[in-house]
């Protein structure tokens, strides 16, 4: 029989330390949905999604019950919509967004990602029409998530696209002003975007992906924190080992769920994304892991080093536990979704500049950060450009999900509710970046892109 210690440890992880599978995301290709008219195309999209994903939620719930593991989200990612034929104008894309929202509601998923464009080297006319549709499309839908890739190590950064994204963020904040500008929480700007990421808002089903697949995102910041707390005063080599072992266990569970979901749905297994994704629940915090490592507050000196070690140890432990690792795979550091981060901002321990430094060593970027509503769009473009540059030069994914909360200022708080949490407004640098970003054009790819 399985030994008692192992059984109790697992149950404790789930009951007390918030161990869960964060998401089962079904990636669906829409490349064959193009038809003569936008209406027919949307009809095909709706039918395809609701056919492939009809059992996604119920299967997820069955697995959850049978294995006793909470599976928080069941979601869908689709081919970046700007690549789907049959849609050309802004109105076409808004119609597509409404169709996707309807499909998401029909199958019961809480988010659907892939209202996206890949414009790291330049924009087609279709891309431009698509980008202009984003603010209204997200404002009039509930469950559709959007992302834009504006740079990569191979191509450099498309500053024209960055400028458009700065504008999108501001407009989206205005259009959803009655709701703390929540629309911005559904829009993320990437550099080096992974094509199989199961996490929102950046999930989409890349062009190199199969017809349909299952990707799973694991989580478990609470489990890692508890393991570190139990370890007491050991040195960092020993601590790294403890994190690796914990990440291994968490990922094995994700792998098991992924294989089981794939088998039951008859859909190939794609990847497991080894990420530490926090929630606003007490104890389910990445910031608190860093604090358990010995920092008085996240954001103080040493935070970047601690996060670098944590991120690396999670990957090392997880890599052996899964047959295919992909997606973002690393620690997430959103502000509004992590109680420890929120506390640190409120105490003045954590600034946007420190968060930027932290994004150099972890998986994503400036995530769910509320900034003053009167921040100029050029400043937002500049923040996006900074993040994209970090990604481009360091060969890693970076992203920006900023919320310039309309009518709000430093000292105010915005409440998104649910897993999106709440966030204090953080100050941004008040000096202008306008002339620099408005130059437009492209920031050339770095020398180390010349690998061949």
């Amino acid at each position: 029989m399985i030994n008692t210690k192992v059984i109790l440890e697992t149950i404790n992880m789930i009951e007390e330390e918030h161990l869960d599978v964060r998401t089962i995301t079904m990636g669906i290709s829409l490349l064959d949905c193009a038809a003569g008219t936008p209406e027919e195309t949307c009809e095909n999209i709706y039918n395809k999604i609701t056919t492939y994903a009809k059992d996604l939620v119920s299967t997820g719930e069955d697995i959850e019950k049978e294995y006793g593991i909470p599976i928080i989200h069941k979601r869908i990612s689709i081919t970046p919509i700007s690549l789907v034929g049959g849609l050309k104008t802004k109105e076409d894309y808004i119609l597509a967004a409404k169709t996707l929202d309807r499909a998401a509601k029909k199958v019961g998923v809480n988010f659907l990602g892939g209202f996206s464009a890949l414009v790291q080297k330049g924009m087609t006319n279709k891309d431009i029409a698509f980008l202009t549709s984003i603010p209204e499309a997200l404002a009039c839908t509930e469950r559709v998530c959007s992302s834009v890739n504006v740079g990569s190590t191979r191509t450099g950064i498309d500053m024209d696209a960055v400028n458009i994204c700065g504008h999108i963020v501001k407009k989206l904040a205005y259009l959803t002003r009655d709701n703390y500008s929540i629309g911005c929480a559904k829009f993320v700007v990437f550099a080096n975007v992974p094509e199989d990421n199961p996490f929102m808002a950046g999930a989409f089903h890349g062009v190199g992906e199969p017809e349909v697949e299952i990707n799973v995102g694991v989580s478990g910041p609470g489990v890692v924190r508890a393991a570190i707390e139990k370890a007491g005063g050991c040195n960092l080599s020993e601590l790294a080992d403890i994190i690796k072992k914990t990440a291994f266990k968490v990922t094995r569970m994700g792998q098991l769920v992924a294989c089981e979901a794939s088998r039951r749905l008859g859909v190939p297994f794609g990847i497991v994304d080894l990420s530490l994704a926090p929630t606003p629940a007490i104890g389910d915090s990445v910031a608190q892991i860093l604090e358990a490592m010995g920092l008085e507050r996240v954001g103080t000196h040493g935070t970047t080093a601690a996060l670098a070690m944590l991120n690396d140890a999670v990957k090392k432990g997880g890599a052996m536990a899964s047959s295919h690792v992909g997606g973002l795979s690393g620690a997430f550091i959103p502000v509004s979704e992590d109680q420890g981060m929120i506390d640190a901002v409120n105490l003045g321990a954590l600034s946007i500049e420190k968060l930027e430094a932290m994004t150099c060593v972890c998986s994503v970027g400036l995530d769910m950060i509320a900034i003053p509503g009167d921040t100029p769009e050029e400043t937002i473009s500049a923040i996006i450009a900074d993040e994209a540059a970090i990604g481009m030069i360091n060969n890693k994914t970076t992203a920006a999900r900023l919320i310039p909360a309309y009518g709000k200022n430093v000292g105010d708080m915005v409440e998104f509710g649910g897993l999106l949490g709440y966030a204090p407004i953080m100050p941004v640098n008040k000096y202008s970046s306008e002339v620099f970003v408005k130059r437009g054009g492209r920031i050339p790819a770095p020398i180390h892109s010349l690998k061949n």
Partner: protein
């Protein structure tokens, strides 16, 4: 399929009887039981086996949860693979 069922509660008469009679009702075969008392706290771990084809496990799991709520027992029923995969290489 095999599953692990854990029961914790304040000690009282008839806990094992109540839990095992549910198992009998749903055609589950009890393979192993380990039970101990820590102070006046009751803890039991059981390994059960069920016919996978009949898909009765989810129903048993619901029934045990209902029993737990009614009798103030903390009961968890989980597929054994979760332990095998998490704790064995």
């Amino acid at each position: 399929m095999k599953a692990v069922v854990t029961v914790t509660a304040k000690d009282a008469k008839g806990i094992i009887a109540k839990v095992t009679s549910k198992m009998f009702e749903y055609d589950a075969n009890v393979l192993d039981i380990s039970q101990s008392l820590v102070g006046d706290y009751f803890a039991m771990i059981m390994l059960i086996e069920m016919d996978e084809k009949e898909k009765k496990f989810l129903a048993l799991s619901d029934a045990l949860k209902e029993l737990g709520d009614k009798e103030n027992l903390k009961i968890q029923a989980m597929h054994e693979d979760i332990f095998n995969s998490m704790h064995r290489i």
